[in-house]
Symmetry: C2
Subunit: 238 residues, 2 copies
């Protein structure tokens, strides 16, 4: 069985799907997707990455462009497959949170496995039950079936000045511990933050969580947190 041909939405292995998904996610944040960058995010060794990207570049049609020592770029075919996997992942995360009461720190690990095994029918039913959601529990956009993706804030809390008022729109989902910690502080999607103070030299950022109406809490966040929280300037005091 020589499995060297791939059509869009063909049967790929779990490993292949994870590579394509990760490449697309990294393309959005890095100008070049290198072997070592992929190895870090996929938790495998660089030699393994080289082997896999060579296979994906050899597939017909190719899922990605690859030149030795130059990093990789997804082809339209590879990008479409990656978007399908990401749609699965984020839809499942949202379903676990909405329909099954999962906390936002647990959904990623579960979705990581389920994303590879659900059928088109299950994908569609989940989307229907949720009313075709556009965002996952961390504020990441869920690609539509045709592959379009809503833009999200790239403004990290780290970049905000003292005195400004912002709303949380996205939180990196790669650190469950941080997510649980933030939930404990009341920092969730749509939470309003008023920046009280920014200590210099990468010192902590002090902010007030929630409006003055409710019991507002003050907390200090380090760089590890503020780099992973994305915000928009608050329009209209809801």
């Amino acid at each position: 069985m020589t499995n060297s041909r791939i059509r869009a939405s063909e049967i790929l292995t779990r490993a292949e799907e994870d590579y394509l998904k990760t490449i697309l996610e990294l393309e959005e944040e890095h100008e070049s997707v290198t072997t070592s960058l992929l190895a870090t995010h996929l938790r495998v060794k660089p030699a393994s990455v080289t082997g896999m990207i060579q296979k994906l570049a050899r597939s017909r049609p190719p899922c990605l462009h690859y030149e030795s020592h130059r990093g990789v770029t997804l082809t339209p075919v590879g990008r479409q497959i990656a978007l399908e996997v990401i749609r699965h992942h984020r839809l499942i995360e949202q379903y676990l949170a909405q329909a099954l009461g999962y906390d936002w720190d647990k959904v990623d690990a579960e979705a990581e496995k389920l994303e590879h095994v659900i059928s088109e029918e299950l994908e569609d039913r989940i989307a229907a039950v949720l009313g075709d959601p556009i965002f996952d529990p961390h504020g990441d956009p869920i690609p539509s079936k045709d592959g379009s993706v809503t833009a999200t804030s790239r403004l990290p809390l780290t970049a905000i000045q003292a005195g400004q008022v912002v709303r949380v729109t996205r939180v990196r989902d790669d650190d469950p511990e941080l997510l649980r910690y933030l939930a404990g502080l009341g920092i969730r999607l749509q939470a309003r933050l008023t920046i009280v103070e920014r200590a210099p030299f990468e010192g902590p950022l002090t902010c007030q969580v929630g409006g003055a109406e409710t019991e507002a809490r003050i907390c200090a966040l380090g760089r590890g947190a503020t780099d992973r929280i994305f915000v928009e300037f608050d329009e209209g005091t809801g």
Copy 2:
């Protein structure tokens, strides 16, 4: 990496889990679970079965007893793992049917993949949402967490005489086409059947579906159907 030790509820591969599940299912219906029987049900070649059962017999503690040319028997450890996989499978089937509106002919294929990847937490949440169901959409019992299994009817429709009135309590889930066909006839779980006539020499069984109250339909079922439908004698005309 020598992965030869297995504790109950340890990480097994998908293939290993499917073998153990299938062995338990076959033990219930056959006095001896042979290599070729397993090969047929797992859709692999006998040589592959020999290899896998030798590995499962060598695992520590062993998942099954195996003597060359003598078939296999699950050990308590193997049985417990098999029950966990079957619990996953049937809970998922029931969830797909109840919560997501799946038809009973589609749930098996989907559950076959999902059963291997859901976490203990997801299993528990699904069970909770469904109110700890005891049966799956085909009337098969869902093993409880402690491994107990409700007994089900082993009386096939084939064994029923003309004139008798029975209720459908279980239908084999291995043939989606048959399930869809039966659904079209109104033959589902708890449907009442009145046997009108039994043609001799394995001829068709004619029966009336549903009570006389509703629009009762007459249909003729061949052996392929009646062997796969299990019934109980109807108590009280509900």
